[in-house]
C-alpha cells in the first residue's frame, strides 16, 4: 500500500520536505508503526519528534484531515494521507 506523509510545522523543519510517499507491503498498518517507519528514515525527525517508540507528546498525527491520533493507535490503509504536525495551535 501507498501512504502519503505530510509534514507541517516543526516536523517539516526537521525533515526538510513537505510530503513524501511511503510504500509498505502490508494492506493496512497501525498508524504508530507508520510513524516509526518515518522516524527510521529521518534521523533528524526521530531525534526531535519521538519519545522512544512513540511520537513526542508535543506533536500529533491526523488521518486524512479527519481524526487526530496522539496516544491512541489507528489504522492506515492504501491511499491514506497522514499529517504530522505540532500540537499547539494558539496564535
Amino acid at each position: 500500500m501507498k501512504i502519503k506523509i505530510e509534514y507541517f510545522g516543526i516536523p517539516r523543519q526537521r525533515v526538510g520536505i513537505a510530503s513524501e510517499i511511503y510504500e509498505f507491503e502490508q494492506e493496512e498498518m497501525g498508524i504508530q508503526d507508520v510513524i516509526r517507519a518515518v522516524a527510521q528514515k529521518h534521523p533528524a525527525f526521530e531525534k526531535h519528534c519521538m519519545d522512544g517508540n512513540t511520537i513526542n507528546r508535543h506533536l500529533t498525527v491526523n488521518l486524512n484531515g479527519n481524526q487526530f491520533f496522539q496516544t491512541e493507535d489507528g489504522t492506515a490503509r492504501d491511499g491514506d494521507a497522514l499529517l504530522i504536525l505540532s500540537m499547539d495551535a494558539g496564535g
Binding site: E6, G65, G91
Partner: protein, 599 residues
C-alpha cells in the same frame, strides 16, 4: 498629589490607585488578601475592580466609565513570561466586559509604582499624559503628541522623560475612538475589544509609569529554582514551534484542515496560503526574532517590509496573516505585511480590522454597500480601507464601529454574515470545522475569542470529532476556559501551557512561593470559576441576554463551501451551550444562580 509610601508585601502591594483625570483626584484603595486570593491579579482583579466601580452602568466611552491596568503577583519575579498586565474595561465594540493582555516593561514599571492596579476614570480637558511616579501623580499636556502613531509617541516620550519610565500609549485610531483601537507599549499591543478607544475617550494619549516599590517573595530560594526550571522547560519541544516559525506556522496546517477562514468565512482554505506561510516568508525576506520583556520563548518574528523604497519591519502573527490575508482573499505577501504594519501604525486590532473589511467587501459584492473599489482580493483596496479607518475618514468612520454596527446600519440581512459574536470579530478558527471552538466563541464573555477559550486545543486532539460536536465537549471547553482564566490572572504567557505536566498544581506552587499562601490545584480551579462568574456577572449587569450567545446565522445554516462535512446547525449549538451553562453551574440559559448579581 502625594500619596504615602506603603509597606511591601509578598507578591502584592495590597492597594490600587484610582485616578480621576477630570479632576486630578487620586484615591488609594486597599486590597484585602481575601479579594486577591479570589481574583489573583490581571484579568481577575481587573474584572473585580470594574464591578466595584459599577462600570457596567456607563457607556464605555463616557467619562464615568473606568479602565483598569491590572498587574499580578508574578510581575517582577524571575518566572519567565511574567512581565504582563491586563487592561480591563467595558468594550465599546461589544458593550460587555473586555480584557486585553500584553507584555512589556510597562508591567514591571507599573507595579513598581506601588500599586497592584491603576484605575482611570473621568475625561481630561485636552489630550494628556497621565504620569504616575510612585506617589506623585500628574496630568501633563500631550497636545504635541496628537496624531502621532504609537511608535512615534513612545519615541517622543522616551526623549521627554527620564530613562526609567515606561509607557502605554494610543495611536491616532485611539484618539479618534475607533472601536477596535489598541493600547501599545514597546511594539506590543493590548489589542482586542477597543481599550485604546476607552483611553482615548478620556483624552489620555499615554500613561507614563515608574517607581522603586518592590514586593517580596515568600520563598526566594525555591522561587529562583522554580523559575530556572520553568525557563529550562521553555526552551524545549513544547515551544519550539513558536521559536522557529512563530504562530504563523498555523497557516498551512489550518489550510490543510479546511479551518483557515477565507473570503469572510465562506471557505476554509485559501489558494495562496503557501505564499503567506512563514516557511515561504523565511525564504523570501530577512527576519529577526524578538522576545517580550522577561521572556525566554522568543516567539516574535519580525520581517523586513520595504515600503516606498524605505526599509521597515512588520511583526507577524497568525492572526494578522489570516485576517488581512485569506479573510480578505489577499495572498500578496508584501500587501499583507504592509497592512499589518499599518494596523500597528494607527493602533488598531488586526483581527477586527480584517474582519470588518472582509465583511464590507462581501456587502459590496452583494451590492448592499456602494463602495465599488472595495473588492475581495484587491490589496490596494485593503490598504486604503485601513488608512480610512485609522484616519477616521469617509467609509472609515462606518468601518471604525466594527462589523456588527455596520451590519445593523446596512440591514438587508447582512447581520447573518457579519463575522462577530457579541460585536467582537472572530479570530482565525473556522467554527464549523472546529466545533468545540464554535462553542467557546458563542459563550465567550468578551465575544468571539481564542485567548479566553482555548477550545481549539480540544478540536485538534483525539478526544473529539472536530466536525461533529456532542455535549461531552462542553466540559472540555469549560476546562480550557478555566486554564485561560488562571493564566490571564497570574499572569503567564499561554505559549507556556504545553510545558506543564500538572497545570493547576504547578501554577499553585508558583503562586504559593511568591505569596506564602497554601493553595492547591483544586483551589485554583475554583478561583478560575469565580473569575469567569465575575465576568458573566458584569455582562448580565450590563444587559447581556442569552440570545447573544450564538454564532453568525450563516454559520448555522450553511456548510463551508469547500468542506461540506463542516456544518453546524442551531439546534446542535444550542444543545452545546445549554450543556456548557449547566457544567458551569449556571441555569440552562446562562444566568448565574445568584442573578440578583451580588458584586
Amino acid at each position: 498629589m502625594l500619596v504615602d509610601k506603603v509597606s511591601n508585601k509578598n507578591g502584592y502591594h495590597h492597594q490600587y490607585l484610582e485616578v480621576n483625570v477630570s479632576t486630578g483626584e487620586c484615591i488609594r484603595h486597599p486590597l484585602e488578601t481575601t479579594t486577591l486570593k479570589r481574583t489573583i491579579g490581571g484579568s481577575g482583579l481587573g474584572t473585580q475592580l470594574l464591578l466595584e466601580h459599577e462600570s457596567w452602568k456607563y457607556d464605555p466611552l463616557s467619562a464615568e466609565s473606568s479602565i483598569v491596568f491590572a498587574f499580578s503577583p508574578l510581575v517582577g519575579s524571575p518566572l519567565t513570561t511574567s512581565a504582563k498586565f491586563a487592561v480591563v474595561s467595558r468594550s465599546p465594540l461589544t458593550g460587555r466586559i473586555n480584557d486585553s493582555l500584553a507584555s512589556s516593561q510597562f508591567a514591571i514599571a507599573g507595579k513598581r509604582t506601588g500599586n497592584d492596579a491603576l484605575l482611570v476614570k473621568g475625561r481630561a480637558d485636552s489630550l494628556s499624559i497621565l504620569v504616575v511616579d510612585e506617589g506623585n501623580i500628574e496630568i501633563q499636556s500631550a497636545t504635541h503628541l496628537a496624531g502621532l502613531s504609537a511608535e512615534q509617541t513612545e519615541a517622543q516620550l522616551k526623549d521627554q522623560f527620564p530613562k526609567d519610565y515606561s509607557f502605554a500609549v494610543i495611536g491616532p485610531a485611539g484618539e479618534k475612538l475607533v472601536h477596535f483601537a489598541t493600547i501599545s507599549h514597546s511594539g506590543r499591543h493590548a489589542g482586542r475589544g477597543g481599550s485604546g478607544a476607552v483611553l482615548g475617550s478620556k483624552n489620555i494619549k499615554a500613561i507614563a509609569v515608574r517607581g522603586k516599590q518592590r514586593t517580596n517573595w515568600h520563598n526566594t530560594e525555591q522561587l529562583v529554582e522554580s523559575a530556572r526550571d520553568l525557563s529550562q522547560r521553555s526552551f524545549g519541544p513544547a515551544t519550539e514551534k513558536y521559536r522557529e516559525l512563530g504562530t504563523a506556522a498555523n497557516v498551512l496546517v489550518f489550510n490543510r484542515l479546511n479551518c483557515l477562514p477565507t473570503r469572510n468565512f465562506q471557505k476554509g482554505s485559501f489558494h495562496d496560503a503557501i505564499e503567506l506561510s512563514p516557511e515561504s516568508m523565511n525564504l523570501a525576506r530577512e527576519k529577526i526574532r524578538e522576545s517580550c520583556a522577561a521572556c525566554t520563548i522568543g516567539c516574535t518574528h519580525v520581517y523586513s517590509v520595504p515600503v516606498d523604497g524605505k526599509p521597515s519591519r512588520a511583526r507577524i502573527e497568525y492572526e494578522n496573516l489570516f485576517a488581512l490575508g485569506p479573510l480578505c482573499e489577499i495572498g500578496d505577501q508584501q500587501i499583507v505585511l504592509e497592512a499589518s504594519q499599518l494596523c500597528d501604525h494607527y493602533g488598531i486590532d488586526t483581527i477586527s480590522t480584517g474582519g470588518t473589511i472582509a465583511f464590507a467587501m462581501e456587502c459590496v459584492e452583494q451590492n448592499i454597500l456602494n463602495e465599488p473599489w472595495l473588492r475581495f482580493g484587491d490589496g490596494q483596496a485593503l490598504i486604503q480601507a485601513i488608512h480610512l479607518i485609522g484616519q477616521y475618514k469617509g467609509l472609515g468612520k462606518r468601518l471604525a464601529q466594527g462589523s456588527r454596527a455596520l451590519a445593523m446600519e446596512l440591514g438587508k440581512g447582512t447581520l447573518a454574515f457579519a463575522p462577530q459574536v457579541k460585536g467582537l470579530e472572530l479570530p482565525g478558527y473556522e467554527p464549523r470545522a472546529l466545533q468545540t471552538m464554535a462553542l467557546g466563541f458563542a459563550v465567550g464573555t468578551r465575544g468571539a475569542d481564542h485567548n479566553r477559550s482555548g477550545a481549539y486545543e480540544v478540536d485538534f486532539s483525539e478526544a473529539v470529532d472536530r466536525r461533529n460536536a456532542d455535549v461531552s465537549q462542553a466540559r472540555l471547553a469549560v476546562e480550557t476556559e478555566n486554564k485561560a482564566a488562571i493564566m490571564d490572572s497570574l499572569i503567564l504567557c499561554k505559549f507556556l501551557r504545553g510545558v506543564f505536566d500538572d497545570y493547576f498544581a504547578e501554577c499553585a506552587v508558583m503562586l504559593n512561593l511568591i505569596t506564602g499562601w497554601n493553595l492547591h490545584a483544586q483551589d485554583l480551579v475554583q478561583t478560575a470559576e469565580e473569575i469567569i462568574n465575575a465576568k458573566k456577572r458584569f455582562n448580565i449587569l450590563s444587559g447581556w441576554t442569552p440570545e447573544e450567545d450564538t454564532l453568525p446565522e450563516r454559520m448555522l445554516t450553511s456548510a463551508l463551501e469547500d468542506d461540506q462535512d463542516a456544518r453546524l446547525n442551531r439546534q446542535t449549538l444550542e444543545t452545546l451551550i445549554k450543556a456548557y451553562n449547566l457544567e458551569r453551574g449556571w441555569d440552562a440559559l446562562g444566568f448565574l444562580p445568584d442573578s440578583s448579581t451580588i458584586v
